[in-house]
Amino acid sequence: MHNDAVHITPYRTHLWVLVTLLALTFVTITVTWIDLSALTVLIAMVIASVKGYIVLTYFMHLKYESSLFRVFVFMVLAIYVLVILFTFSDYLFR
């Protein structure tokens, strides 16, 4: 099955991940103080996505799971993005 090599993430990694996430949180907050109008949303979402990526890879252990799991996650997110895009094909062209 799992060719026995259970991957143990060291505590240190988790702490670093936490620090990174906290740092990114403060980046978002400061960025939104500066008013960049529409860009603000974009930047905030990009940062949130980066944070999400980190949570998925490290906390949720995707990095060490079989590639099937990564394919699935990618597929699900891709479908969701397409759903949004197709819905906006209505709202943006009204």
């Binding site: 949303v41 799971e65 949004i84």
Partner: protein, 197 residues
């Protein structure tokens, strides 16, 4: 004979997480459309939210996610005692989050800002929509937080009794995955509701 398949169990959990992602996905879609329709009003309404409480809650949730992740490491290394402490820390974080939310919602409801209230009816459509979404999204998120909290409590008891151990800890992993999902959703909720003013 109970047949055991840890990867299968984890796969099941992931698939469940996908459904949760799409459940919230539906809400995020509504948010996106409404923001597109009422961008100015959303802008104004977001000012009414307390970004400070939101930030604290973000920090608390990230912290709790890290402790859950570390508790897995602890169990893998055979240190159940540390794992229990870490899980307990997670639950404390969850409680802090809930208390904060209680004050946040309580304050709004106190000044009469809730769906269907008289004050709400005087606001513009876009603002009403923002608050409707705010209550619905954070409410649903909180519901998941409570469910996650219950799961982790059970897990903690099992770690404590040794039913979860170095040789068998997929339940802990799955509980953790669920908890991270709750965190993941907040990561997107927080800027969308509190920050983008």
């Amino acid at each position: 004979m109970e047949h055991r398949d840890d990867i299968g169990a984890k796969l099941g959990m992931w698939v469940f997480i996908f459904t949760e992602i799409l459940l919230f996905g539906g809400l995020f879609l509504v948010y996106a459309i409404m923001r597109n329709n009422y961008s100015k009003e959303f802008h104004e309404a977001a000012h009414h939210l307390n970004a400070f409480i939101g930030t604290i809650n973000t920090v608390v949730l990230l912290l709790s996610s890290a402790t859950v992740a570390m508790s897995i490491t602890a169990v893998q290394k055979g240190n159940n005692k540390l794992a229990v402490i870490l899980l307990f820390a997670t639950l404390v974080c969850a409680a802090v989050f809930m208390v904060n939310k209680y004050f946040e919602w309580g304050h709004k409801i106190h000044i009469g800002l809730y769906p269907g209230s008289d004050l709400m009816m005087t606001l513009s459509h876009g603002q009403v929509m923002f608050f409707s979404l705010y209550y619905f999204m954070t409410g649903l998120h909180m519901f998941h937080l409570v469910v996650g909290g219950i799961i982790l409590t059970i897990v903690m008891i099992k770690v404590n009794s040794g039913a979860i151990n170095t040789g068998k800890y997929v339940l802990l992993e799955n509980g953790g995955l669920y908890w991270h999902l709750v965190d993941l959703i907040w990561i997107f909720l927080f800027p969308l509701l509190y920050l983008i003013t």
